[in-house]
């Protein structure tokens, strides 16, 4: 009974993925289809020696690290709050879900308009999305707003598994709040932390929607997903775009493997 699912996933995901890998070895542009030819690793060479790739990789890493870092800190605080708060708990758990339900495109527009000179309420004549670092800030803020609830819920799932008795026992034995946090809460929540960080990092690394709506990759905010999109859809450079896709996948796989290794190594 799992066969249809397996077949479907293979047919519509694995097959195109293999096709991407094959196309990445071709010199193939839809604007000059007659010049299509096998090119070996040429595309990879061109990309990896280009400044664009490294700039976009750096932008992607900066955006990923800052947004996941902030999300983790805020998400943990939020998870603790949802765990501990008694008064208004229902309301708290409800409002947290709002950003999760909002479309990424919609939140991207909301923040873009808010920071737009003369339109937005943030104020001033400063063109936030016109300068690299301020544009980064707006993109990160948007991502953090949208995805912190997801992080918080994952962490909350870990927090509720902390056994109350152990916690009480530590208290009786004279462990301070800080010690209890590190010795009892920490280890119990760790699996949830790893899963939450892994999911969010992989997601953040592929950031596309927010960048598309807010800057179109201008002022140094082009991410690897956007680079791939630009090659494939705008410039119709199928070979180059496919190679970027494959490289992006390699990065994502490396992050995933790194996470699993680090987690195993620790425990």
């Amino acid at each position: 009974m799992a066969a249809p699912a397996l077949l479907l996933m293979v047919a519509v995901t694995v097959v195109p993925v293999l096709r991407t890998a094959a196309l990445s070895l071709e010199s193939y542009s839809l604007s000059a289809p007659s010049e299509r030819a096998f090119a070996g690793l040429d595309n990879y060479g061109r990309i990896l020696t280009s400044e664009t790739w490294w700039q976009d990789l750096a932008a992607t890493v900066v955006l990923t690290v800052t947004s996941v870092g902030l999300e983790f800190v805020l998400g943990f605080a939020l998870a603790m709050a949802m765990h501990k708060v008694l008064w208004g708990r229902q309301l708290l758990r409800t409002v947290v879900l709002v950003p999760y339900a909002v479309l990424t495109v919609v939140s991207a527009f909301a923040f873009r308009f808010a920071f737009q000179p003369s339109v937005g309420f943030v104020g001033g004549d400063f063109n936030w999305l016109g300068e690299t670092w301020s544009a980064y800030s707006v993109i990160v803020l948007t991502e953090v707003w949208k995805t912190t609830p997801f992080m918080a819920l994952m962490l909350l799932a870990g927090l509720v598994t902390v056994p109350g008795e152990v916690y009480e026992a530590a208290k009786v034995d004279g462990a301070g709040a800080w010690q209890r946090f590190w010795r009892v809460t920490g280890p119990c929540v760790r699996p949830a932390i790893v899963v939450a960080l892994l999911f969010r990092t992989l997601d953040a690394f592929r950031v596309f929607d927010t960048v598309y709506i807010q800057t179109q990759g201008a002022v140094g905010t082009e991410t690897l997903s956007f680079l791939s999109y630009r090659f494939l859809i705008r410039d119709l450079e199928v070979g180059l775009g496919s190679a970027v896709s494959v490289l992006l996948f390699v990065c994502v796989a490396m992050i995933a493997v790194g996470f699993v290794r680090a987690f195993r190594g620790e425990s």
Binding site: M1, A2, P4, A5, L6, L8, M9, V10, V12, T13, P16, V17, R19, T20, L23, A81, V85, W87, G88, L92, R93, T94, V95, V98, A101, V102, L103, T104, V105, V106, F109, A110, F111, F113, S118, V119, F121, W145, F150, L153, L155, A157, G158, P191, A192, V195, A196, L202, R206, F208, D209, Y212, I213, S225, S228, I233, S242, S245, L248, A253
Partner: protein, 272 residues
């Protein structure tokens, strides 16, 4: 008492943080065209003209129809396939059991952009570019892993003894499934449907890459191509109104099924 005030303060802060952008979009959608550039947080003279304009704009109404149709069909197919797959994974012991879950997990990590290129060329060759089916197929494939994981997590919480004891009492296997298991699994199916729908409803990358006209463009993609009465003026109010029309119903749906959504989202994290 102190505790109470601190708790309420925390809740209020979080509420302001999560709701402010929504209130801002509502405010923008209520501003008349002449006052879109006033930079105020709240509208000085609220009007509904952006909303009335929206429903006479064929670009929005067709996009809305596309969004509803494509998301519903893709979600339905995805959930049906996932229910069978998850039932098999959770209930029956067969070889390749782990392979399905492993493949599903691997696919969720895969960058969607890697599918855009081959699908773009393939769809052009097959005549699926800019059609409903051209979006439904990738939507099913990218939402299937999530649906399988969610359904498997739900099925694993079902006490299967119930099914066996029903059979002991003389029910056939099918009866046991229909009478005992399906009612227990129904909430799980509903949650999976909702979360899958949410993913399809907000999808953007395929929607802008695999469509080119109103024929199949969904609302998220249409929003990116919205232009006002004049080409040079950004229709902030219209975009805000359209954004709310596709957001508010979904937010209400999520809030109504809050408990289940939270359980569904966190079911994976607990097991680590």
């Amino acid at each position: 008492m102190k505790r109470r005030i601190a708790d309420l303060l925390v809740t209020a802060t979080v509420a302001v943080w999560t709701l402010a952008p929504i209130v801002w979009v509502v405010s923008l959608s209520l501003k008349p065209a002449s006052l879109q550039n006033d930079g105020r947080f709240l509208p000085a003279s609220p009007t509904l003209e952006n909303y009335t304009g929206l429903f006479t704009n064929p670009m929005f109404t067709t996009a809305l129809r596309n969004s509803v149709g494509i998301s519903l069909i893709a979600t339905t197919v995805s959930v049906i396939v996932a229910v069978f797959a998850a039932y098999a994974i959770a209930r029956l012991r067969f070889r390749g059991n782990g392979a399905v879950l492993g493949l599903a997990l691997g696919l969720t990590m895969f960058p969607a952009i890697a599918l855009v290129g081959p699908l773009f060329t393939l769809w052009t060759d097959l005549g699926l570019f800019d059609t409903w089916l051209g979006l439904i197929i990738p939507y099913v494939s990218f939402s299937l892993p999530l649906a399988i994981w969610l359904m498997t997590a739900f099925f694993r919480t079902i006490p299967w003894d119930l099914e066996e004891s029903a059979q002991m009492d003389g029910a056939t296997r099918l009866q046991a499934l229909l009478r005992v298991i399906i009612p227990v699994a129904a909430p799980g199916v509903v949650t999976t449907f909702l979360l899958t729908f949410l993913a399809c409803w907000g999808e953007f990358l395929f929607a802008i890459s695999l469509t080119s006209t109103d024929q199949s463009r969904t609302v998220p993609a249409a929003l990116a191509f919205f232009t006002g009465e004049s080409e040079f003026q950004q229709p902030y109010g219209a975009i805000a109104a359209a954004a709310l029309m596709v957001t508010v119903p979904v937010v209400i749906l999520v809030l109504l099924s809050q408990r289940r959504i939270v359980a569904g989202l966190t079911s994976g994290a607990v097991k680590g």
